[in-house]
């Protein structure tokens, strides 16, 4: 019941915000209402997290009841550590995003209420996606998330928004529909095997002929690769990011795109272990390409938002690499990476969004020397940037190192090539910072204000989390690890044993 409540709360909130009498006339009220709802959801999520038994692992808060008996679809929810991590990410980011969105200048201010309503709706659906343990239900919610995001981009975005929105929708729909084909296939399989069912638990046991398994796997994987997004299926992201509001961009990149990588673990690896093994070499190569490609393109961008979008392509490359390396270290790292990347990208998108709003332009070349008049803004941008280039002491470093180190034990060349990403990361972040923040103040920028109280309040929690998790990731990992180990086992991979292991005892001893 807990999870249903958690997922439904924001959706009810969305309806409230949308239909509240006089909402359209009173943006202030809408904003407060939306923030309140998201905070309530956060509290609920914290309650869930508190009750979650990390050590035990497995699925908890399980709910399951018949939904469409005719086709064996269940309304089944449950959280394992991985799911919990992403639910927390969602519920933590939503209030931040909503608070940050208070200042957004919308193309049609009269429809502010729909803007926030869609955000809340998206939050609810995302929670549902992360909690769904029935692939049919998962698919429904997975596709349903497109609708709010589509309206957020298309109706409330900036220049070229309807093009971006349509591109986003069709791109993801094509992927999603291929997945639909695979699900239909699963249905046919389970029906032939007797009782038709979409339950995660049932599907795990399903024995599929290798050929079919590969087909079905591809259907799923392509959908998630579009969502993630992976090279070469990434081109919708920069456009979408560039023509949506910062908050929308965060919801899209930090939360919705995570569904792709999350689902790779939950559905690809666990249901199609054989096919995953079969595909992993190719996938890992693609991931490495994404890492370098995204980084290089980020260097070449002039639009800040496109730049951040491409950095995300690079980071998602790391995540996918970690997932398909099939080691506890790398996969746990990838999961942690999802969380950290969510935070750092949120900071980057939001703070640059505030900067862009001040200047009325997103072009790097239009900025310069801002640091002089808005040091706090610059400082937060720098922290966000440093976390994005995974500086030790900030959260993303740990996850990135885990991914790389885990991959290294499986494939040295890939890990080494991927590691070059850390140099490129420094380049794209620092160049952006230098061009926008340092040097003499560019004419026309004198009007730029320092962050105001609201903006700072919105950003501070994320920044604090990034730093805190850089030193004490323990709590998260203790939740993630127990849930990752079974996945690796299910794939039938096991962590390579170091040739010359050092037993813990001799550690700290001197030669």
């Amino acid at each position: 019941m807990m999870l249903t409540v958690l997922a439904v709360t924001p959706i009810i909130g969305a309806l409230l915000v949308a239909c509240w009498p006089g909402a359209s006339g009173n943006p202030r009220l809408v904003k407060v209402l939306a923030l309140a709802v998201s905070l309530i959801t956060l509290v609920l999520a914290i309650v869930v997290a508190a009750q979650f038994d990390a050590a035990e692992g497995g699925y908890q808060f399980v709910e399951q009841r018949e939904w469409i008996p005719a086709i064996g679809a269940h309304y089944a929810l449950g959280l394992n550590g991985i799911g919990l991590t992403l639910v927390m990410l969602t519920t933590i980011l939503s209030p931040i995003v909503i608070l940050a969105a208070w200042g957004d200048r919308l193309p049609n201010p009269a429809r502010t209420h729909t803007y926030f309503a869609w955000m809340l709706a998206l939050e609810g659906l995302a929670i549902g996606v992360f909690a769904a343990t029935d692939v049919f239900l998962f698919y429904l919610l997975f596709e349903a998330t497109l609708v709010p995001l589509y309206f957020l981009i298309g109706a409330h975005g900036g220049v070229g928004r309807s093009y971006a929105a349509v591109k986003f929708l069709i791109y993801n729909l094509v992927g999603g529909l291929l997945m639909l084909a695979s699900i239909v296939g699963l249905y046919a399989l389970t029906t032939r095997a007797g009782e038709s069912s979409f339950l995660h638990s049932e599907l795990i046991g399903l024995d599929i002929s290798a050929g079919t398994e590969k087909l079905l796997f591809l259907g799923f994987f392509i959908a998630f690769a579009v969502k993630a997004p992976m090279w070469p299926l990434h081109t919708w992201l920069p456009d979408a990011a560039a023509s949506s509001t910062p908050s929308t961009a965060v919801l899209m990149v930090s939360i919705v795109d995570k569904i792709g990588t999350f689902a790779m673990i939950r559905w690809c690896l666990e249901i199609f272990p054989g096919a995953s093994q079969w595909a992993s070499p190719v996938v890992m190569v693609l991931a490495v390409i994404s890492i370098l490609y995204g980084a290089l393109l980020a260097i070449g961008q002039d639009d800040i938002r496109r730049l951040i979008a491409f950095t995300s392509v690079s980071h998602f490359g790391f995540i996918v690499l970690g997932i398909f390396a099939f080691t506890t270290l790398s996969t746990s790292g990838a999961t942690l990476y999802m969380f950290n990347h969510g935070l750092s990208t949120a900071v980057l998108f939001l703070v640059t969004g505030m900067l862009i709003a001040r200047r009325g332009s997103a072009s790097i070349s239009e900025f310069g020397g801002v640091q002089k008049i808005a040091p706090v803004l610059a400082g937060i941008l720098l922290i966000g940037g440093l976390s994005s280039l995974s500086l030790p002491g900030l959260a993303p470093f740990i996850s990135e190192f885990m991914v790389l180190a885990g991959t290294f034990t499986v494939s040295i060349p890939l890990a080494v090539i991927a590691a070059f990403g850390i140099i490129l990361a420094a380049v794209y972040i620092l160049l952006m910072y230098k061009r926008t923040m340092t040097g003499p103040l560019r004419p026309g920028l004198d009007g730029i204000r320092e962050l105001d109280g609201r903006e700072f309040t919105a950003l501070a929690p994320a920044v604090v989390l990034i730093i805190a998790l850089g030193f004490v990731p323990g709590p998260l990992l203790s939740v993630i690890n127990p849930s990752v180990e079974p996945v690796i086992a299910q794939v039938g991979a096991e962590d390579p044993v170091p040739p010359h292991p050092v037993d813990a005892a001799s550690e700290g001893a001197h030669e």
Partner: protein, 529 residues
């Protein structure tokens, strides 16, 4: 000395009720004064439909499972083998009656035309002549539309359950002829209305002859027009049976024409655009349903034994239809035409479910071709009527404004109307949590189970293509600022509002909780032979 036919009047009663009320309508037409006709006709028709609906439901309850049937099935061959009253058939009746009731709401809507029906006052007048304007002054109305609708409906119901090719042909004509007339009766844009009627008539007649010739050949091959007997002949055949093949082809042509499959689709856009919008809605939903069930009945019952001969051809037709419909719809600038092409695309998706010819597992209720198609027809029909209802509301001084350019910014002006239309579009596109998704899911599932997964893959890609133009409409309505004064939305009358609301509700409910309906269509079982 011919013995009198043995008829089980009870199970056939829905047919009689509808036909009877149609005749009654004619009598009323003659008997009543003009002032009362419209109202009385409306009420009479409504009563007739509701009565038929109730009876049908009861009949469905009384259907019993035949002994020998290896598959889930219910019902029996009635009326000396002329009609089969079985699960799918009766469900189709109910479906058609529901569609008719919804359409009736649009037929009887008098709000838009200054208190007059959406049909021309006097069909005989030359468009633009002063007779016509007089007709308007005298507030003339063609109340015959109601009996006509009922006749068409009776034809459809018979069409869906006919178990004998000649009965089927008669039914085909009975459903077509009234529609030809109805198409010509638009109050506005008389010219294109008449043109549509003529095209529909000529092509309809043309194609029905093909059907008939096919029937003749089938008769020539098997010595009977009765589907059951033809089936025996087909199953027992030794030779490749060239005659049989041609017969099947010809019959297929007649039926594919009715469901608007490529390359027999050409009439659809013109007729859909030209016909009065309420008629379009009724046609699009009901004709397709009746024709599709008839198609399946003929090919599953009569030619089931030869299914491996006809399936590949239907695969090709299905693919062409899906792709053609989706692609051409992209370039459309008129809402009604776009919906016409979309209906072509949907015919394609339905054909995917059909051409897999998946009969399910012995004595188990699973999604077979029949049940999935039934479900699809319901959700498609409801959404279609709803969509056309919305079209009939978006008007300016010159009547309905069907040009897409006029729809820009509808979302700002009247969010609720635009919202429901968007909902229908999403349902057509098969976005989850709308009924359309479950519908698509069903036919694809049946197709995969029937072993034609490549069709499924092509199908999903085609629906992505289709999604594009549905989405385009949403973009126009919501994301584009209105050009000039934009569309003026007439405040919809009670009837239309109810219709739209019902359609929307059904679309959402069947999207979230399709369980019950799926259950019903699954237990409707296979055709009885």
């Amino acid at each position: 000395m011919i013995p009198a036919a043995q008829l089980d009047y009870w199970v056939l009663s829905p047919l009689f009720v509808v036909a009877g009320f149609a005749v009654l309508g004619l009598i009323l037409e003659a008997a009543l004064g003009r002032r009362y006709r419209f109202v009385v006709q409306t009420i009479a028709t409504a009563i007739g439909l509701v009565a038929a609906l109730v009876v049908s439901v009861l009949v469905y309850g009384d259907l019993r499972t035949p002994e020998e049937a290896g598959h889930v099935a219910r019902g029996a061959v009635e009326a000396e083998g002329a009609v089969t009253v079985d699960g799918p058939g009766v469900i189709t009746w109910i479906m058609l009656l529901v569609f008719a009731l919804l359409s009736l709401g649009l037929f009887a809507e008098r709000r838009f035309e200054a208190g007059m029906s959406p049909f021309t006052g006097r069909a005989a007048d030359i468009p633009g002549s002063d007779e016509e304007s007089q007709a308007v002054q005298h507030r003339l109305e063609h109340t015959e539309v109601f009996p006509l609708m009922l006749f068409a409906l009776s034809g459809m119901m018979l069409f869906a359950t006919a178990n004998d090719l000649i009965t089927m042909f008669v039914a085909l004509e009975v459903l077509s002829l009234p529609l030809y007339v109805l198409c010509a009766l638009s109050r506005r844009r008389r010219l294109i209305s008449q043109e549509a009627a003529m095209k529909y008539f000529l092509l309809g007649a043309f194609s029905s002859v093909f059907f008939l010739y096919g029937a003749a050949l089938a008769y020539g091959y098997s010595g009977s027009l009765n589907l059951t007997i033809i089936d025996e002949a087909v199953s027992a055949r030794a030779d490749s049976g060239g005659l049989l093949l041609v017969a099947m082809a010809m019959i297929a042509v007649g039926l594919l024409f009715k469901i608007g499959a490529v390359p027999f689709h050409a009439w659809t856009p013109d007729v859909y655009q030209g016909a009065p919008t309420p008629v379009t809605g009724f046609m699009a939903a009901a004709t397709k349903a009746a024709a599709f069930i008839a198609l399946m009945r003929v090919f599953f019952v009569a030619f089931g034994g030869a299914s491996w001969d006809w399936r590949p051809t239907f695969w090709v037709v299905a693919v062409i239809t899906m792709v053609f419909g989706s692609v051409v719809a992209i370039a459309q600038t008129d809402v009604k035409r776009m919906l016409a092409y979309s209906s072509i695309a949907h015919a394609g998706f339905l054909l995917v479910g059909f051409s897999a010819a998946y009969v399910g597992i012995a004595n188990e209720a699973v999604l077979t071709s029949v049940s999935s198609v039934l479900f699809y027809l319901v959700v498609y029909g409801v959404a279609t009527i709803g969509a056309f209802a919305v079209v009939s509301v978006v008007r300016d001084s010159a009547g309905e404004t069907t040009h897409l350019a006029k729809w820009t910014g509808l979302g700002q002006r009247s969010p609720w109307l635009a919202g429901t239309f968007a909902l229908f579009m999403l349902s057509f596109a098969g976005i989850p949590l709308t009924a359309g998704f479950i519908g698509k899911w069903g036919v694809f599932a049946a197709a995969w189970a029937g072993g034609t997964w490549p069709l499924v893959v092509i199908g999903v890609l085609a629906s992505a293509l289709a999604a594009y133009f549905y989405v385009r409409v949403i973009v126009l309505m919501f994301f584009t600022e209105p050009v000039g004064d934009g569309p003026t939305v007439a405040a919809p009358g009670v009837l239309t509002t109810v219709v739209i609301a019902l359609a929307a509700i059904v679309t959402v409910v069947l999207g979230v909780l399709p369980g019950p309906l799926l259950d019903i269509v699954q237990h409707a079982g296979a055709f009885v032979r």
